[in-house]
Amino acid sequence: MTSLPLLLLLAVATHARPRAPLPEADALILKALAGPATGWTAVERVQVFLPGKKPKAMKVNVSGLPQGNMRLEVLGRKKVPVLTQVRVAREAEAPEKGLARLNRFYELTVSTGGVVAKRKTWKIELRLKTGVLRRALWVDRDSGLLMKRETYRDDGSLRRRERLVKLEMPATVDPGLFLNRVPESDVWAPDGFISIKRDEKSTTFSNGLEAYTVSWDGKNWRVTGDIAEDDAERALLSNGRAL
């Protein structure tokens, strides 16, 4: 009788499907930065957690082309697009460059990420060299699409969560949506951020809740405010290019 549970365990073990091996973090990041091989559309929910305040959220309609072009429509309270941003892949940095920047700031570790928007994901944790968890990314196992991203403060509290809630992939996306876009600032800014104040020595960007400033301190350009280290460097580099 005592051998029955053992036999059952053995049977379960022999019939269990082997877990998929964890991919390499660098390969996964490159796949995510390159984007899916098909067109896709999604609704993204962005949540911001400010200390001592109620969480805030907004919805963004996102569509992407196979080449990596992305269009974001921030929806207002009446569900009408209020702010539209188009990211053109050929103007963006190469995936290898993005990966190199992440590796400069963070230690990358991969784990199973669970299901996001009905798709199996891998989770990548990005920790500063000091050990502080700064970001977590959930990447679709099949397509490499970034499904979810969380950003944390130094104390470990959640600062921001971006997550796809409705995804259609593959989807037919009209390339005309990516033409004749309105020129934005020369300086790169994270999704949803726009330049709200500019003078000779500084430019401030905001998404309505968070803000950061790129400024000249007499010797160097600096980035201060609500922005993660990797994004800050990217903004700084593009600022140098704009100069």
């Binding site: 929806l75 309270r77 702010l83 005309g176 905001s206």
Partner: protein, 110 residues
């Protein structure tokens, strides 16, 4: 009736059966064929109308090609750039940005 008379009558009867062939047999056959033939074809009409000169054949061909081109252009739908509905020309004002956000329960769910 004598044998000579019979022979004479038989020869006359034979003569009356066959009408003599016209002198301009070839020309009359051509006339008959032309009369029986249908209307001339459009192509022949076009060639004739263009006087039959070598340059006129070229002009006719050019005219026909132009006509075909016009028909084709009309038949193929016009290619138009997809209408673009990108972005308000002006970014929203800083105050308006704050209004994009609404209160949330902070949950991690769809």
């Amino acid at each position: 009736m004598t044998m000579d008379e019979n022979e004479k009558l038989a020869k006359e009867a034979m003569k009356s059966l066959f009408t003599p062939a016209p002198a301009d047999l070839k020309a009359s056959l051509k006339r008959m064929a032309r009369a029986k033939s249908a209307k001339p074809s459009l192509w022949d009409g076009l060639l004739e109308s263009l006087s039959g000169g070598a340059w006129a054949y070229g002009a006719g061909a050019a005219f026909a090609a132009a006509a075909v081109a016009v028909v084709l252009v009309k038949a193929v739908p016009e290619r138009r750039e997809t209408p673009v509905t990108v972005a308000p020309a002006q970014a929203p004002a800083p105050q308006a940005l704050a209004e994009l956000w609404s209160d949330d329960d902070g949950g991690d769910h769809d």
